[in-house]
């Protein structure tokens, strides 16, 4: 049996048009009616979502030696300047924010000239190989032809200037992912006929806190060669080798499946999806990669390696589980898969997830969430602060997993918080990540402050 959450009369926290996006899980499973999701945000509801530009920037920004130019007024550049934890082993150009900083007069007379002059200056000074030009909200409206500028500059200076059409209003974050994937394809297509070699590309990992490095270490451990990475710790030279790979593995499916599909169709590289969150996912993913590469030796190594790692973690997990047994978690994250993965990780720690929400989950994600969630769990799509507040008060979680916007709300309600977003500075992927995640959850929940402030 499934009911909408607002059957109860209480303080107004849920808008009429939001009711279909909220579910209570009752015993006995699913009604099959599902949740309303994958739709536009409701105006005025204080969505936690970002915009098209944000999606594009998230995917492309980790490319370390590219010049990332934001064509538009300053805000978009300012709010995205070097705020994420993507690390580099080489260039650090990506940590700078370049912007045309459009002003009143540019809005009236157009910003094309300014963009062109800026690109020329960069070209003459640094002779770069790769530039991305992000067109934000008003660029199209004021009639700038960004494509034309990029084309002429590419030709004139023999470099790749790739336009990323990302006006904020033209869809949601997922549209931005797609725009970024198209930009990457534009970069790769000239090299699409490379001779294949025995190696893989890693897609959808952004090297937050060195997670790409952890995954690459695993590949080395099991003897699988990595050709190129998208886009964590990547560079122009590294990326254009990608068409030579035999297989793509896709870690953040939400952002990069579109790229994997295009590479499959246009470069004949099959892909598999993987996840490195939790012991189970990591182990299964490594075995699956070895299997997909038809590499017996790698399969054997992967098995040995994962068994060893899992054994090493046994004692640690036992110790920590004692304190976490029966604790309650709330999850509000970007995509459906991450939410599902977190519910499972909490389960493996003996915890119960009492509230689950995502910004951009798909109907089938919610179906799985419904299936694995325990009785009385609240499930929300594109929730706003008022709803999060209402249900956190009602469900009394011990910890909320989310992005930094949600942190102060959790704290105000006396709830611990775990940042599972892009600003963190410790890896949560792989076996190393299991340790960090477990510690963060445990240390957060069992921190002494709660004893004194929750009366």
């Amino acid at each position: 049996m499934m009911n909408t959450a607002t059957d109860k009369k209480e303080e107004f926290s849920v808008l009429e048009e939001r009711k279909d996006s909220i579910l209570y899980k009752y015993e006995g499973g699913c009604s099959g009616t599902g949740i309303r999701c994958d739709s536009d945000s409701v105006s005025g509801a204080v969505s936690q979502r970002a915009c098209v530009y944000c999606g594009a920037r998230v995917v492309l920004n980790p490319i370390t030696d590219a010049f990332h130019i934001v064509h538009g007024p300053i805000g978009c550049a300012s709010y995205t300047w070097d705020i994420r934890g993507s690390l580099s082993s080489g260039e650090e150009i990506y940590r700078n924010s370049f912007s045309t900083d459009l002003r009143e007069k540019d809005v009236i007379f157009g910003g094309e000239r300014k963009l062109e002059a800026g690109i020329e200056e960069i070209a003459l000074k640094y002779h770069p190989r790769l530039l991305f030009v992000y067109a934000t909200c008003i660029v199209g409206v004021i009639g700038d032809d960004v494509d034309a500028v990029c084309k002429s500059m590419s030709k004139k200076y023999d470099m790749q200037v790739i336009p990323v059409k990302s006006p904020g209003f033209s869809g949601n974050k997922a549209t931005g992912y797609k725009m970024a994937c198209n930009a990457i394809m534009q970069l790769l297509l000239p090299y699409k006929n490379r001779e294949k070699r025995n190696g893989i590309n890693i897609l959808g990992d952004f090297n937050l806190a060195g997670e790409m490095w952890i995954i690459k270490n695993y590949m080395k451990e099991i003897g699988i060669d990595v050709v190129a990475t998208f886009t964590g710790d990547s560079s122009y030279e590294n990326m254009i080798k990608a068409p030579a790979a035999r297989l793509n593995i896709v870690q953040c499916a939400g952002s990069s499946t579109y790229l994997a599909n295009r590479m499959q169709e246009e470069m004949d590289i099959p892909y598999i999806k993987v996840s490195f969150f939790g012991i189970e996912d990591t182990t299964n993913s490594l075995l699956r990669i070895a299997g997909a590469m038809k590499d017996e030796k790698a399969l054997q190594k992967a098995e040995e390696f994962c068994n060893r790692k899992a054994r090493e973690l046994e004692g640690f997990l036992e110790t920590y589980k004692k304190g976490l047994e029966g604790k309650r978690a709330a999850v509000y994250v970007g995509g459906g898969f991450k939410a599902i993965s977190l519910i499972r990780q909490f389960k493996s720690l003996g915890m119960k997830t009492v509230l689950v929400g995502t910004q951009t989950g798909k109907p089938e994600d919610y179906e799985v969430i419904e299936s694995i969630a325990e009785k009385d769990t609240v499930i929300l799509d594109d929730a706003n602060p008022a709803e999060l507040e209402k249900f956190m008060i009602e469900k009394k979680p011990d910890i909320l997993v989310g992005g930094v916007k949600e942190r102060p709300l959790a704290y105000k309600l006396g709830i611990a918080f775990c940042d599972h977003n892009h600003e963190r500075k410790h890896p949560l992927a792989g076996f190393e990540g299991v340790i960090n995640f477990t510690k963060e959850i445990s240390d957060g929940i069992l921190n002494p402050v709660w004893k004194y402030v929750r009366q």
């Binding site: 926290s13 808008l15 536009d40 945000s41 409701v42 105006s43 005025g44 204080v46 969505s47 979502r49 915009c51 944000c54 030696d65 007024p73 300053i74 805000g75 550049a77 300012s78 300047w81 260039e91 650090e92 150009i93 940590r95 700078n96 924010s97 912007s99 900083d101 009143e104 540019d106 809005v107 020329e120 200056e121 640094y126 934000t136 909200c137 008003i138 409206v141 006006p167 904020g168 209003f169 949601n172 896709v250 099959p270 598999i272 999806k273 075995l287 299997g291 030796k297 898969f337 993965s341 994600d365 179906e367 706003n384 602060p385 008022a386 992005g403 930094v404 916007k405 704290y411 105000k412």
Partner: protein, 883 residues
């Protein structure tokens, strides 16, 4: 790490030192009681601003968005905004709503007042709610201008009463909640009834309580704002806001006199604040304040010498820069760069007045004051003008990292440290905290760098000996670590059962001595002892064999040459083999075993070949005992017998070992314990080789081989052997896990797998007989868990279950099995395509499967399973169920 040094650009902003107008507008609205704001524009604007504010203030920040879409952009966003206002009001029940425009709304020409008018028409029940529009295009200025634009709009839109009252209007420049509280309390202290406008101190630095209020409850009330038109006087604590001065507005329209003062951080400006307070209230400055002032002055004197070395970069909003420059100027901290991201025509003139005089005292002729500037420019100037302290918001952290100069954090945003909302800058106490931090920053920079700077400048004794020593030490350390690692991963030299494997390549058939216990003519695969091999390989064959084995035995770490004769009696073969393998594999450890007769001749060459581990079998350190063990030795064309053979052998063993040890080779000495011959003498051998510097000894029992001279000697039993080893373990490390292996052994010590590799290349197929074997097709979107309906699947993951293992085989796209568009168009045929794609499977696992396809599949003997498990788990369960 190769890094491009990015310099400032003329035509582009590199690393913005500013944010946008809507940010400032929203901040101002946070100082109004029961007010919530909405941005008219794309969803991203409000999300980004919320993130920035939430991380600075550490408070929940709720800002709505009208979430303009493509359609709204083309046809106007009025519907979005009206709907957004309605939703927002229902959720938050505000008394005031701030509506701020964004770049997009302004560019498409949205008319806010008209839309608000229409909103009231449509929702007359909300007439009581004050909705205030602000034109704040992101390109129109920075957050500083947006903040004052919003204050101005509030005054324009609220009905101000003109009737005179006793209130004092206090207009605040953007400042931390802590500083707002200071100002508020100062007016109270003088008994003044001040309207703090805006007062964000509680809403953005709230307490922790049982009940959380999602609508900001504190701040300047609408009622107070309405009284501002009749106030006695306006004190505007801001001198550099240009276009939208609320004080000027109130004077012009309501004849409220106004005075502008600087942010009270420097002593002159704090004094001025108290003068004003005293003048308006008619009360003298309190003793407690005077005491604060006196402590402030005392601190100025105490720190002036440290501060005198300060070369500061000051950046941020114009009012903050002016106040900080004045504070620095009073304390002898010289501002070499003053920079604002805002466009501000007055900044340079006003600030320059402060710096000029100081520049003269310090004889400094270069400093920069700039507006409309980015961080790259500030960074390059800071470097050029040798700044040693940065003062401004957290966005200066890249400069701090790059230039290694301390950043004293003040202003907005502070998102990389805690407590940004509680940073104090104003009043004697607040400013003193600020000043102390600056002083300490200057001190810490000096304390942590002066030794190196002075050393580099004045120490000229040798040309950089430090670096050379370091370089050598690093190299030696790396070598040592490599050797340690190789030793650890060596099945014989490392710990027992470390799980690593070795291969012995039988390339050395000849021997140059005859031991009385040895016969080398045996080849029986089941016999295992030194000197035995099935075949002798050429160096090329040895390489091929190595490749074949390496392929199958991943934990192979060591290549050894152990006969069947003596490695050094066949030096050309040994050398050839090692060279070929080294070319193929740079990593593998080379190990060699010898009787040591030729060791002095080849010791250096072995090192050059990359041999890192050598075993010498040395059964005697006494000539007479040696003569009983060795029958003869062929040395340099001579056949030596008896004691002369033993003497030459012993001398060469010892000097060879010395040479190896000197070159850092790890040496093991094998001693064959022969009962009644050398068993009592063994501790003496151990002692001698220990003194040379060998790594370990391996005492092993003599194997009585039929046909050898010793075939009838009694065997040394295990107990005796271990007693012997234990006794010697006091002298040096003993090997306890020797398996006395063959000259063609492969594998770990406990598991010789050489038979598998007999015939050199390739491994014989494993036993493929499986207890259970099933193939499954899995419908999955994530590829990790079963999360797709059968009918929605465009592809299937194919897995095999074999001997309790689950192996991923491939992904099959059903598209490939489609025979033309028409056929694939309808649902019925789609199922046919799926069937074709998976007909070789024993089971199908999906989130859910319709009844029709389920029947079809079951009729073909394909089992259908519905679950939402992890793929691997689901398959295991399904296979068990099918068994």
């Amino acid at each position: 790490m190769k890094k491009t040094n990015i310099e400032p650009l003329v035509n582009m902003n590199v690393n913005p030192c500013k944010m946008c107008m809507p940010m400032g507008a929203v901040t101002a609205f946070y100082g109004i009681e029961k007010c919530i704001s909405i941005l008219h524009g794309s969803q991203g604007c409000s999300t980004y601003i919320r993130r920035h504010m939430a991380t600075h203030y550490n408070e929940p920040v709720d800002i709505a968005s009208s979430s303009l879409t493509e359609q709204g952009t083309v046809y106007g966003g009025e519907r979005n905004l009206i709907k957004g206002l309605n939703n927002l009001i229902r959720l938050y029940h505000p008394e005031v709503v701030g509506v701020a425009t964004t770049c997009l709304a302004e560019t498409i020409g949205e008319d806010l007042p008209r839309m608000i008018h229409n909103f009231y028409e449509e929702y007359p029940e909300y007439k009581e709610i004050k909705i205030i529009p602000v034109n704040s295009p992101g390109y129109g200025g920075t957050q500083f201008e947006g903040y004052f634009r919003a204050l101005h709009s509030i005054l324009e839109n609220v009905d101000l009463q003109t009737e005179k009252n006793e209130k004092i209007n206090v207009i605040l420049s953007p400042m931390s909640p802590k500083d707002v509280r200071f100002i508020r309390n100062s007016f109270r202290l003088f008994g003044l009834d001040a309207i703090i406008f805006p007062d964000l101190s509680d809403n953005l630095d709230g307490g922790f309580s049982d009940k959380y209020e999602r609508l900001p409850q504190k701040g300047t009330s609408l009622k107070d704002i309405s009284l501002m038109g009749g106030a006695k006087v306006t004190i505007e604590i801001s001198n550099l806001n240009m276009a939208d001065s609320p004080g000027r507005f109130l004077e012009k329209n309501y004849h409220v006199p106004y005075e502008r003062i600087n942010l009270p951080a420097g002593i002159r400006d704090i004094d001025r604040l108290y003068e004003v307070l005293s003048a308006i209230s008619g009360r003298p400055v309190m003793e407690s304040v005077k005491e604060e002032r006196s402590r402030y002055m005392d601190a100025m004197v105490d720190a002036h010498k440290y501060n005198g070395e300060g070369r500061a970069v000051i950046f941020g909003e114009p009012d903050f820069i002016l106040a900080t420059v004045r504070l620095c100027a009073e304390n002898g901290i010289f501002p070499v760069v003053c920079a604002s991201g805002s466009v501000n025509g007055d900044l340079k003139d006003i600030v320059e007045k402060e710096i000029e005089e100081m520049a003269e005292c310090y004889h400094i002729d270069r400093y920069e004051i700039m507006d409309d500037v980015d961080f790259k420019k500030i960074e390059s100037l800071a470097k050029e003008l040798k700044a040693n302290i940065l003062i401004g918001n957290s966005d200066g952290r890249r400069m701090e990292e790059e230039l290694k100069i301390p950043l004293i954090r003040r202003g907005f945003p502070i998102h990389d440290r805690a407590g940004g909302q509680r940073l104090a800058t104003l009043g004697y106490e607040g400013a003193l905290q600020f000043l102390d931090e600056i002083t300490n920053g200057i001190l810490s920079k000096k304390e942590t760098t002066f030794r190196t700077i002075i050393f580099k400048e004045y120490y000229k004794e040798k040309d950089c000996p430090e670096a050379k020593i370091m370089e050598y030490q690093d190299f030696a350390k790396a070598k040592r670590e490599e050797l340690e690692r190789k030793t650890k991963n060596h099945p014989c030299f490392g710990d027992c059962g470390n799980g690593f494997a070795r291969i012995h390549l039988p390339v050395a058939p000849k021997c140059n001595i005859q031991c009385n216990y040895c016969v080398r003519k045996f080849d029986c695969p089941n016999e295992s002892r030194p000197g035995v091999t099935s075949t002798v390989l050429t160096p090329m064959e040895a390489l091929e064999k190595y490749k074949a084995v390496k392929e199958k035995v991943p934990n192979l770490t060591v290549v050894g040459i152990a006969g069947p004769g003596d490695a050094l009696a066949n030096f050309e073969e040994t050398k050839g083999t090692l060279e070929l393998i080294r070319e193929y594999d740079k990593e593998v450890t080379f190990c060699l075993s010898t009787n040591g007769l030729m060791l002095p001749n080849y010791a250096n060459e072995l090192c050059d070949l990359g041999v890192s581990h050598v075993t010498v079998t040395m059964n005697a350190a006494d000539i007479s005992i040696g003569a009983q063990i060795y029958k003869y030795a062929n040395y340099n064309g001579m056949k030596l017998e008896g004691e002369s053979a033993a003497a030459v052998l012993m001398a060469n063993q010892l000097s060879g070992l010395r040479m190896l040890v000197a070159r850092g080779i790890i040496c093991k000495v094998n001693i064959v314990a022969i009962k009644g011959i050398n068993d009592a003498h063994i501790p003496e051998i151990v002692k001698q080789v220990k003194d040379i510097g060998c790594f370990m000894t391996n005492i092993m029992p003599c194997i009585q081989v039929k046909g050898s001279a010793f075939e009838n000697l009694p065997t040394i039993c295990n107990k005796e052997l271990n007693e012997l080893r234990n006794k010697c373990s006091g002298t040096m490390k003993q090997m306890y896990h020797c398996r006395q292996c063959r000259a063609d052994a492969i594998g770990t010590l406990d598991q010789d797998i050489s038979i598998q590799f007999a015939g050199c290349n390739g491994i014989k197929g494993k036993d493929n007989k499986a207890e259970a074997f099933y193939r499954f097709a899995v419908a999955s979107k994530s590829g990790i868990i079963i999360d797709q309906h059968f009918g929605h699947a465009k592809e299937f993951y194919i897995y095999e279950y074999r001997q309790k293992n689950v192996n991923f085989i491939e992904k099959r796209s059903i598209h490939k099995y489609c025979e033309g568009f028409e056929e694939c168009g309808d649902q019925e045929n789609k199922i046919q395509q799926i069937m074709k794609a998976i007909e070789d499977c024993d089971g199908v696992i999906a989130l859910r499967t319709g009844e029709a396809p389920k029947k079809q599949m079951e009729s073909k003997g394909i089992k259908v399973i519905s679950t939402y498990d992890i793929i691997e788990e689901a398959i295991k369960k399904a296979a068990v169920a099918m068994l």
